[in-house]
Symmetry: D2
Subunit: 345 residues, 4 copies
């Protein structure tokens, strides 16, 4: 039984890790920390756990948690994770960080979009935790940077086409729409029910921090620098990201042949579902599940392809992918604990 710690588990990603791990046959959560909720049962904060666990939030140091755990998930705000991860690594523990602190390999890019980095020496060691691209590296990693939700939806949607040079890397536009849980459980005016319900808007137009993360990975796939236009929007719903991706075609492909290419690229992948021609993803088909669904259509009139991907931002976009990484890192069956069917309606 793998002993797992969750460091900073009072938000939605921490709660989602608990939902998955409480039903994981090979792992056990031994520590769950929160300064704010210290001493409180997690079931008092999240009543979904009522009767299912006696786990309480503790206010423990990384050292204390390290003693109890084989692997630790960091569900901390950006900036705090970089200070905490080294302590766990030093104690010989594996770390999966759900923040952005170790996702960018280039220190200058990180500091331009975020702030000063306190553990830059780890940037090159950290593995970008997208199993469909980096399974081998994750297997032997000490530190995995769990990808952002938007990047997961964009990169999985573009990887086969970019790698096979089907599309022009300079033409990529990613129009993404996310549910509100992506903003976390912090008190912010923009997350109030009445500010969101029956509303829809773009935000951080041209300045969202997930852009450099997407560009890093697309550049690696394309073998050259890629710059994209990325526009995030806020959907009036709890969970889900749908990304509508546009690119100009460089090769003469049909929808059918492109789908075939994608099916080949993702052959054997349990958590990527390539749709048949004419079918397109809906975030409600992945709600609560670890899938990334992909559909597409070639628009001959304009020589563009429209690729649409859907994930649950808290699952494949965060905690589900983190557990997938844990399974890989610890030699467990990769889909262990993740055979959840989406809840519909």
């Amino acid at each position: 039984m793998l002993k797992v710690g969750i460091y900073g588990g009072s938000g939605y990603t921490g709660q989602e890790l608990m939902r998955i791990l409480l039903r994981h046959p090979d792992a056990e959560v031994v520590a769950l920390t929160s300064r704010k909720f210290k001493g409180t049962l997690i079931s008092d904060i999240f009543p979904v756990f009522e009767g299912l666990t006696d786990l309480k939030y503790m206010d423990a140091s990384p050292q204390e948690v390290a003693k109890m755990s084989d692997l630790v998930f960091l569900a901390l705000p950006h900036g705090e994770a970089m200070a905490t991860a080294p302590l766990f690594l030093r104690a010989g523990k594996k770390v999966i960080d759900l923040s952005a602190d170790f996702r960018l390999h280039n220190l200058a890019v990180f500091e331009a979009w975020y702030h000063k980095h306190s553990a830059p020496e780890l940037l090159s060691e950290a593995v970008f935790g997208l199993p469909e691209l980096y399974r081998k590296e994750i297997k032997s990693a000490r530190l995995v940077a769990n990808p952002g939700c938007y990047p997961t939806s964009a990169i999985l949607g573009l990887a086969p086409a970019l790698k096979e040079k089907v599309i022009d890397p300079d033409s990529i536009i990613v129009d993404s729409k996310s549910g509100v849980s992506g903003a976390g459980r912090e008190l912010q005016l923009g997350s109030l029910f009445c500010e969101v319900e029956e509303g829809f808007k773009a935000y951080k137009v041209g300045e969202h921090r997930h852009a450099p993360e997407i560009e890093q990975e697309l550049s690696l796939l394309a073998g050259r620098e890629v710059r994209i236009t990325f526009t995030p929007h806020l959907l009036p719903l709890n969970r889900g990201i749908l990304s509508t991706i546009y690119a100009t075609l460089k090769k003469d492909v049909t929808t059918a042949s492109l789908l075939e290419l994608y099916r080949g690229f993702y052959r054997g992948e349990k958590f990527v579902r390539v749709y048949k021609e004419g079918a397109f993803p809906n975030v409600s088909s992945v709600r609560g599940a670890n899938f990334c669904d992909i559909g597409m259509s070639v628009d001959k009139r304009t020589n563009r392809v429209i690729i649409i991907t859907a994930i649950d931002n808290l699952v494949k976009g965060a905690s589900g992918q983190a557990v997938q990484n844990m399974n890989i890192m610890c030699g467990l069956v990769e889909s262990r604990g993740l055979d959840i069917i989406a809840l519909y309606p």
Copy 2:
């Protein structure tokens, strides 16, 4: 491996049975019928199943399905189930009927609220499938009438207090609120998104067909005839029923002592969660899970108790409870396949 058929599986309860049974370790769905969707993959109708099953809807007779199955769920409209159940019983198969056709023991009451009954001889044999009250009878039943969603929420909320004669049976008011999936997947004006979103209303005031079902069970619990006032309302959300129940106290109890009574009554029950004093259920805490959550408050000023229960109408209010009944009828562990944690947010 238990072989299970779902007869009439094109609606939300059929889909929910599939969600649960596809992950049930001891049961396998071998037949799924729908005249409308004959020959179509269930994953084409409900993309949540994409990649998870190759099951297709078939248009098969009860006799054909009986040959393949050990037990059959009827997810048919009222009126059709009564014509179909006898065919399965005759073939020696166990039947769990999710319609209202076999819930009322009294033929006259049934025909007053519904229509003529074509299999009245089965009314006395059918067991009302509320395991917390009728576990023993379910164990040996051939035909289980799976309770209605509103009745499940009302009866579980009142059973201990009525049985212990803490409340006046003539004073009971049940104010229930249900999500839209309770209306099924049929095309009705009142189920359109724009008719429901940002709206809230009562419906069928004083004439909902679940009233006699609730009264039948409350009367059995009280040992005398009970008549209630029952008002259903439509919530602008997918899943969940919250029932706010009012009754006048006959005994001198406190909230604490009443909660203690409930905890005793439901001791050992895996799917009833009695809350601590001051805590009250929310439908979002049972979304997708098989629990009935119960909270309450004694109002000394008016000598009333307010009991609040929450269920997911598609799970404990329909398909989850049906699988719970299946487990009992077939000698499986009662919670098998039902250890689902609610999805939040």
Copy 3:
């Protein structure tokens, strides 16, 4: 042109006052205050006003605002209004207070449910601003206490039946459901989108501060002390309160005769709509409008009546009713500026 000030206008009720008053033919908002948003255009806080007004929030003392205005709306938190109202009155201005500070006539009751009162001498002078009951008193009032949203829905639903002694005052149960805007625009965990969406719960069971306000008015109508059971619930929608009210009948009435009684009681009232038999209100039919819609059904089987009322909590439950009071106090046509048709869907 009536010169109007809004003191404390940064929340939803202040915004709603602006929406109504900007289109009021006989009134003009001359001052709008907010410490937090001092110097900011209201259209920068609420973009619905973009291009429609150049009004900025100012941080002005009551004395300064009094100089500019004939009448002032106080949209302040409870506790602050009691300190502010006397200053405006002393300056000879009319005041409509949207807080709870002057709604209760009995000081002891107020202080038991709220806190110490700093202007108790005004409690007897303040008029409870429900025009359908106190039009004459409002006409000559200096200080009007605008009713709470829940009380408006409960009192209008019960007034005719109580006054005509059709129902037993000891039997009244008010089961109310409110949209989230009733909680205001403050940052609270319980108002976050993800905490509310797809959820439904009761809150402050047996302890909501609107109970004594409802009881005060029902007691006056009944001519004796009335105690009720009142349970508020939170709906996952922006606007609207639906109250489902239960009472035992003391007279032999039918639904038709009771509706007739209500129609007589509210004859000539522009903002109360009594429905025909078999029809029941929906909050979506009053969204944005100043109506209180009322429907009902007599349940012969249990000798109870079920009365259902719907209002928009921000309009008839707050700012619309406040403008109605302003019109009455200032000798304007009572419906002036309030002929708004509900927005549907």
Copy 4:
């Protein structure tokens, strides 16, 4: 007083015309037809009108309605309007058609995307009813083709930039998201609450009938043929369209200078609001109002501009724009009856 008929008024656009026209100081609805609801009060179908009008649906021929009206709105399905409009024109009445039947000037294009046209001779006469572009033509028109909702949002967002040749016409991508009321009030599976709530998807990818309508107008603005990529999506909300538009820049502009260009282009327009730099529209800021809000950002890194527009699909996208056209055609003040402030929250 202008006498107005609404031919086919049982859907949301008919209802919305009524909401606006009942408060229009210079117009009066004298006839409202519906075969289905013949003889029924509109307030029985849409309770928002309870107490506000005695108007009943009638099943009258165009000839009968023509006798009573000066101007007629056609709120009929595509295909029926083309058969009806000529009858009103022959009777000497002005016609505003809310269907797509007369929006495309080119018969071959119409028949390729829709079906055979029964009144092709009117295609060249009909004026595309976008007042900001065709005010002069509308003034003297007999037949106005009210624009589609998506086209309104796209064309107003692109007109200044295209006309001034700031953007490359071959680079235009329109990613639009619409509320469910855009699908009308017909019974369709995809419009059921449970199919939409907590979901989000693209639909009719690359084949939506509004594409040729947008292209027609963009081509006229650009002075050459324009082909766009257009992807509509379905938002889980009642009202609103947000279009996120991408185009490659041909001139060296900044966000500020482009906004200045837009402000100049729309100077004097009452219903177009160009936002300041850094501010972006939200559909909730135009809910129920006739505005088209526009914001934008120049992305220097990729040499693209991102233009975002928001309208209420039932108002500026349908009935509000239709009334605006009526005012122009009949010599009334253009904004008459349309000074509605959006409802928020």
